[in-house]
Symmetry: C2
Subunit: 339 residues, 2 copies
């Protein structure tokens, strides 16, 4: 591999001139240098540059699970901005394990100029203890509860949940079930709160047997739905707090032979590319996933580019309700106590 020394020698100049040429500064011998670079196929050694400058031209992204369509889309958004900024992405997959997440933060922080984290839980012992990191961090979907405040990109969890519940209420549903995520996570907590609030606002009774806190996984939604179906007095509608739990719930309903929306209406949080292909097509709360990643990346890159002074910002993206076929009017005979 050719080094900057080789180029300098070939062009008959000093390494300083080559370096300056590379940095876009005017140099009298630009032509000769360009020719030498070309002939030698020279490419600067990134490690040497990083060592000298203290920068990495790379950012880290840590997600719980790449195969979840939401996180995949998030990564895509980050990529778009990173590409534009000429920055590379180090990807960390925590496999929904806080210990892994923590380990990844430690590893990636040594190799990047900043990190975007879509965290599992709001607070853990040392886990996601980002305070000790002396580098820009952006949270996705996480209220900051650290000593050190950081930038974050949220979605309107309360508003989205409200839209979903009000939609169901407008259809005449009163026995509305909730399948939520861990209350230790921001989306879990906010969507849960949004559900309870909206129910109360509409004078709908919240039957606590119909409020199941699961784990944001497909199996969690599946098991929760089975439990709900075993209730004496079944719900006529259910709101599932994320994409894969919704799929799990649908699978459970399929297994017990329940018809959607005739027997039960279903609304999910987060859209799915194939939501229209499900029978019936799924009614969901949609958010701009790719944009959320892009927004996080922009926030991070601003900090990396030197804006360390201004106070932490919190961006909240709007959501919308997409009504498809999985929600329908409550049948009058529904929701009767079978006990």
């Amino acid at each position: 591999m050719a080094t900057i020394q080789d180029v300098a020698a070939a062009a008959g100049v000093s390494t300083a001139s080559v370096s300056r040429h590379l940095a876009g500064q005017p140099v009298r011998t630009a032509d000769a240098i360009a020719r030498a670079i070309d002939e030698l196929g020279y490419q600067p050694n990134i490690s040497a540059r990083n060592l000298r400058t203290g920068r990495h031209a790379a950012i880290g992204v840590i997600v719980p699970d790449v195969t979840n369509p939401f996180f995949a889309a998030l990564i895509k958004g980050v990529q778009q901005e990173a590409r534009a900024a000429g920055v590379q992405i180090l990807l960390g997959n925590s496999d929904e394990d806080p210990a892994q997440e923590n380990a990844l933060i430690g590893e990636l922080s040594q190799r990047t100029d900043g990190i975007i984290i879509a965290p599992l839980v709001e607070e853990g012992r040392s886990a996601t203890d980002v305070a000790r990191l002396r580098m820009p961090v952006v949270f996705v979907d996480r209220e900051s509860r650290e000593r050190r405040e950081v930038d974050r990109v949220m979605v309107d969890n309360l508003g989205g949940t409200r839209l979903a519940v009000e939609h169901l209420a407008a259809l005449g549903h009163t026995r509305i079930a909730f399948i939520g995520g861990p209350l230790t996570s921001t989306p879990g907590r906010q969507r849960h709160a949004g559900f309870l609030d909206t129910m109360r606002e509409h004078d709908l009774m919240v039957d606590e047997r119909l409020v199941v806190i699961a784990d944001f996984r497909e199996s969690g939604g599946h098991d929760a739905m089975h439990a709900l179906w075993r209730e004496q007095s079944r719900p006529t509608a259910v709101f599932a707090a994320n994409n894969v739990m919704t799929l799990g719930a649908l699978r459970a309903l399929d297994e017990v032979g329940a018809r959607v929306p005739d027997d039960i209406s279903v609304v999910g949080f987060d859209d799915l590319s194939f939501a229209t292909l499900l029978r019936p097509p799924l009614t969901v709360v949609r958010r701009p996933e790719v944009e959320q990643g892009a927004a996080a990346a922009r926030l991070l890159l601003d900090r990396v580019d030197g804006d360390t002074g201004s106070p932490p910002v919190s961006v909240t993206l709007a959501v919308e309700l997409v009504v498809r076929g999985s929600t329908g009017v409550a049948r009058p005979d529904d929701g009767i106590d079978r006990g």
Copy 2:
């Protein structure tokens, strides 16, 4: 940030001893060094280490689209092996653009010890011209046609296609359509060849109007299916050569009001996590996606760990047919020429 010098000073030893301790070599003053490291919160500077050793402890992964569930699963497999090997992942998303792919190869090659590429096309001008890279490369789903042979992890495209077509033939279908990907890509070419071969083996006529070459995208499958449906003499079954084209085809069938499998049977290549939730559940050729990523990573990491001598290997993973509800017996009155 504390450096190795600081640690050495604090422990009253030379930097060499600290470095050796870090490398796991026996050192008499291990305790003092460990204490100093702890107190100072020392973490080695990765750039300096990389510069000195010429290694990066990182590998690159380049895929056309992270949001495609197959590639997401592939990445997950790579992650698993990378984690076990203590190696980080640089992720490149080419957005299905050969120029981007090429640019990513150039960028990632300077920051990693090896690259896994799930390429777009088999050959392009300089694109994916991997010969000039003096580093380990592993191809996923790509026959090597370079001057320089490289390791690769394939799936049994021919066998998988054969399973699908034979399944349809066994159900009595004779007018079987094919929605394929670009013949410039390995999966595109092999699945196309597998389709033609199997049709011939079973003495089934291949109506070339029923063989549509699309682009492996959802819209490609969608448009192809519409075109097929407009044919005078419609197919009674269709095989779509990848996951998202299958979804596109299903969307098109939905739009024209065709019933699956009554009006037309559908088989796709590559399973989908939600395939059982589609109505009807989708019959597919399934491959071990995560394992394919893991296998690619193992191959690459072996090369990175010094095995540069042995000849390139090609691993081919087996596939299986998963029969669900989207395929059914051909109705006798089907396939009649409506012209």
